[in-house]
């Protein structure tokens, strides 16, 4: 899922300070933590409270789109609700917010989120961690299902480097060394010989910018 964190309420209040009628659009897609209808309503309530303290009254409408990054879906759900709306707050990742800006080029669209990475959540701990870097050349088959491009601080294809210490990364002692994880996983599978294969530098063009369906 795409991991986002919410911008500070004051930053969002600054975005919308010159508007009164605002549509808050949640996304039921992959944004994590969930940014659906509940989050849209919660944000509306918080901004209303924050607005009161600035002597500013807003009128918020809230809605949510199954996938905000889908222009067809976003248009079909939002067009009937856009009448009288002066500005739109998007709860989606940067992709969803850009899609809204394309669907409604004449309206100011503001992001409420900072988009971080493609990651997974460890639910009990409530921690979201990066998992995929979108490199366009998936290596997971030979790295025991652990991505070194995203999870090694240095993105090494032939690890570990000399800085792995007690299973942790030298750049951040809290962060697991991805190559140590890969080593342990392959050891468990009795596939350590995979590590003997040398990988040349990756082709950065594969990451790409466009794919035709």
């Amino acid at each position: 899922m795409i991991v986002t964190t919410q911008k500070s309420l004051n930053e969002i209040l600054d975005f919308i300070s010159s508007y009164a009628n605002i549509l808050i659009v949640g996304c039921d897609g992959c944004t994590q933590p969930p940014r659906g209808l509940r989050e849209a309503k919660t944000l509306g309530q918080l901004l209303e409270l924050g607005g009161k303290l600035r002597n500013k009254t807003f009128v918020f409408k809230t809605t949510s789109v199954a996938k905000q990054c889908d222009d067809y879906l976003a248009a079909s759900i939002l067009k009937p609700q856009i009448n009288g709306v002066e500005a739109v707050l998007s709860l989606a990742c940067g992709i969803g917010a850009q899609t809204l800006a394309e669907v409604f080029p004449e309206l100011p669209i503001f992001p409420t989120q900072n988009t971080h990475f493609m990651g997974a959540e460890e639910r009990e701990a409530g921690i979201l961690e990066v998992r995929c870097a979108g490199c366009g050349d998936c290596l997971l088959a030979v790295t025991g299902g652990i991505c070194p491009v995203a999870r090694c601080s240095k993105g090494l294809l032939n690890g570990a480097c000399g800085g792995s210490k007690g299973g942790k990364c030298e750049l951040d002692p809290e962060r697991d060394c991805a190559w140590n994880l890969i080593y342990e996983r392959l050891k468990k599978r009795a596939k350590l010989e995979l590590l003997k294969e040398f990988r040349p530098p990756r082709d950065y063009q594969l990451s790409g910018w466009k794919v035709t369906v």
Binding site: Q6, S8, L9, N10, D28, P34, R35, G36, L37, R38, E39, K41, T42, Q45, L46, E48, L49, G50, K52, L53, S64, A66, R123, G126
Partner: protein, 387 residues
């Protein structure tokens, strides 16, 4: 727990002068708070383990257990007043854990006018209260207990069932006719609005009872027999697709509006877990404080807290059980986490001091009173939002 709380003030006491050490209480206590000491043969009460269900109080043949809440005297005095107020000869005794709204009671028992008596667990009522009710001229007694496996006090519902069976036999012999006391069981469960569900599976993670199942394809499906009505999934559903019978979002919203209008500033709204605080019958309250009882602190929805602030409430206090005392599967900890997250967001606009979460237990009645007093002082000091 706050150090200043006087631990001598406890909700349940054992009077050793009366106790004959018969062990009925210790055999019924769901929490092993009452135990027979092997050496002396004496019954010993460990108040730290006690959850104040009242089963010992209602079943002690020697009246050697005293309780602060819903003892016989206060129940009788309530019934006397309530009989006049509600002007009916039908009594409906309800466990708070399973009581539907009053129109639901009407459907269950077919009575439109009745004297309501809500207690935390019907198992805590001694037989005498049934006799006293009949002596007062009440003709029909309806008892609403939780389903047996839903009972927050483990065997309160079971014990009530047996008690009523025996009482009916006895009353029949005395010539009162058959089934003077009607027992029904009911449990409040989650409701899903399939049109709103986005099949995200959040409820599957949060449900402590594995009642929520996400099928692909097919979406969310609740096994209602497993649902214990804590409301955690309802408060966590990102799509607002879930609701809880009797504690519906709309009902709580309407209640907040009503309470806010009748309060005087600085307005303090308290969301209480109904197992953490036992309100006194006929309890009076200060004009600036109102309470909303919920089936668990987990049902406290961020939406309702923010709504309360928007409707002019100056301070919101949440009274929950500690995680060890939680009558659900330790969900009060999740509630605390969620409130802490909201508090962080409120701090961005300077409102964090107006929200407070506390863990209290009915075994020490002063705990909640002290928390409320401290919070009231704090809100008074920062003043009303509106001024």
């Amino acid at each position: 727990m706050s150090q200043q709380v006087n631990q001598n003030v406890v909700a349940v006491k054992q009077n050793e002068d009366y106790c004959s050490n018969c062990s009925i209480c210790s055999s019924l206590c769901p929490y092993e708070a009452l135990k027979k000491e092997a050496e002396t043969g004496k019954i010993f009460l460990d108040i730290e383990k006690c959850q104040v269900c009242g089963l010992c109080y209602s079943s002690c043949p020697a009246r050697a257990i005293d309780t602060l809440y819903y003892d016989l005297d206060s129940l009788i005095s309530y019934l006397g007043k309530a009989k006049q107020e509600f002007d009916s000869d039908a009594l409906v005794i309800m466990c708070k854990g399973s009581a539907p709204d009053f129109s639901g009671v009407e459907k269950l028992f077919g009575v439109s006018k009745f004297i309501p008596l809500m207690v935390p667990c019907v198992g805590r009522l001694p037989e005498e209260i049934y006799f006293n009710a009949l002596l007062m001229g009440i003709e029909k007694i309806n008892v609403l207990a939780c389903d047996e496996d839903y009972c927050r006090y483990d065997r309160g519902s079971l014990v009530t069932g047996r008690k009523i069976l025996a009482l009916n036999l006895l009353l029949n012999q005395l010539g009162y006719g058959q089934e003077v006391i009607t027992l029904k069981r009911h449990s409040l469960k989650v409701k899903v609005d399939a049109n709103l569900c986005i099949a995200c599976g959040n409820c599957v993670f949060y449900c402590p009872y594995n009642a929520a199942k996400l099928e692909s394809p097919g979406g969310i499906n609740f096994e209602l027999t497993s649902c214990r009505g804590c409301g955690l999934c309802v408060a966590m559903c990102p799509a607002i697709a879930l609701d809880l019978e009797n504690w519906e979002r709309e009902r709580i919203s309407t209640l907040i509006t009503k309470l806010s209008l009748e309060m005087e500033p600085p307005k303090i709204l308290v969301f209480r877990c109904q197992w953490a605080v036992f309100p006194p019958l006929n309890g009076g309250f200060s004009p600036n404080i109102r309470f909303i009882d919920l089936p668990c602190a987990a049902r406290v929805d961020n939406f309702h807290i923010l709504e309360a602030f928007l409707k002019g409430i100056d301070g919101v206090l949440i009274a929950a059980c500690s995680e060890e005392d939680c009558k659900q599967e330790k969900v009060s900890g999740k509630a605390q986490h969620s409130i802490a997250a909201l508090s962080k967001r409120l701090s961005q606009i300077g409102l964090q001091d107006r929200l407070h979460f506390c863990s209290v237990a009915p075994r020490y009645p002063e705990e909640f009173d002290k928390e409320l007093e401290q919070f009231s002082q704090k809100i008074k000091a920062i003043g009303s939002k509106e001024s």
